[in-house]
Amino acid sequence: MKIIISNASQKPIYFQIAEQIKNQIISGELKEGESLPSIRKLAQELQISVITTKRAYEELEKEGFIDTVGGKGCFVAMQNKELLREKKMKMVEDKLSNAVAEAKLLGVRLEELKEMLTLLYKEDE
């Protein structure tokens, strides 16, 4: 599991943690049922306050990404496939809308944008 916290960013630290764990669950890096470090262990590793990691885990639990099993700790929740696909599409959509806004700002026409998109998409194949 990878967590990189930026002290300079405006986003609160618990939010950064929750977001990074969320992305790793959606992208499949964190598999369903995989156990997560306890709140205190994570706090000690990242050298941050226990309250912050607790808050991050509460966020993730509320959004159904993780479950806490009393005594045994936290695990990545069973993501129902449908919900997972939806979240993936949502993430890509956000990124695309940023790109579109940027393109409009810089006066890039739609055709050029489409061309760029297909080029980039084909590149990795």
Binding site: M1, K2, I3, I4, S6, N7, P37
Partner: protein, 288 residues
């Protein structure tokens, strides 16, 4: 560039520790911060300049003169703040001050009284009744009351609250308006230095690692936070130290421009604080 203090391969041997041929120049008209872990030799250097301890070899020039041959004259132009205030505890503040005042030709009693009032120090109270913080303030009062050209301070802010520390820093920058004055002060509270120091000298177990302008350091030194295996894949230019954690790796590099070109997109680079620099150069998993 004129130098108030010039130290050339200074050597001092103790039972468990040796200051190894230290050379250092403190430019006139600037504030130099001296940082380093406990027992790195900060106090030793300051005491050597003041000739409180005898050097084994090396040369020290203060105001261009040999610090032993012209000891009295040099010391009359130095304001010295000790890490442990060495005053007679059963004496009133004003008697201690009046005992040492005649030794300083430039002693200014009005200035002394003004400072004592500003620092809220009771002239008639015995020293033993004061808290550690107030003793440090008294030590400062004495050092600032005779228009010293060189102010030598050994951890002056330890035990003082942020409010007073800020006032002290404001007073220091006020003093620095007159380009003749020079300040060397060792501290463990690096955030103070980041606000006010012009030059930074990092010393580590008896050797000087670097002595540079502060903004050179703050602009070029960064901490890169990235995925764990970043280091194996790429060789980071200017790497000074790194720390592996469970969820990533933090790398200190002194050359942000070169390093930035090699970094993966999801890594974060943040300005390195002096505390980070000391931590990575001293404690990191390696000493690259």
């Amino acid at each position: 560039m004129e130098y108030t203090v010039e130290i050339e391969n200074l050597r001092k041997e103790f039972k468990g520790f040796t200051l190894k041929d230290v050379s250092l120049r403190i430019p006139k008209g600037y504030i130099m911060g001296l940082i380093g872990p406990n027992g790195a030799g900060k106090t030793t250097i300051i005491k050597l300049i003041m000739n409180l301890i005898r050097k084994n070899s090396g040369r020290i020039l203060v105001f261009g003169k040999d610090h032993i041959r012209y000891e009295a004259e040099i010391k009359s132009r130095i304001g010295f703040v000790y890490d442990v205030p060495p005053f007679y505890e059963d004496l009133k503040l004003k008697s201690t001050a009046s005992a040492i005042a005649p030794f300083y030709p430039e002693w200014n009693q009005q200035l002394f009284l003004k400072l004592m009032d500003e620092f809220e120090l009771p002239l008639d109270k015995k020293l033993k009744k004061l808290s550690h913080g107030m003793k440090m303030k008294f030590s400062l009062c004495l050092a600032l009351s005779h228009h010293a050209d060189l102010i030598l301070m050994d951890e002056p802010t330890s035990g003082l609250d942020p409010v007073f520390r800020q006032e002290l820093l404001e007073r220091l920058s006020h003093i620095m308006l007159d380009e003749e004055k020079t300040v060397l002060f060792s501290t463990h509270i690096t955030s103070d230095l980041e606000r006010i120091a012009d030059y930074i000298t990092l010393i580590n177990n008896g050797k000087i690692l670097f002595s540079k302008a502060l903004n050179d350091v703050l602009e070029n030194w960064v901490v890169i936070k990235a995925e764990k295996d970043l280091l194996e894949k790429k060789d980071i230019p200017g790497i000074m130290g790194y720390q592996k954690t469970e969820y990533g790796i933090e790398i200190l590099t002194s050359d942000v421009k070169k390093a930035r070109t090699l970094l993966p997109s999801d890594s974060i680079t943040e300005k390195a604080s002096l505390e980070d620099i000391m931590y990575f150069t001293n404690k990191g998993d390696n000493n690259a």
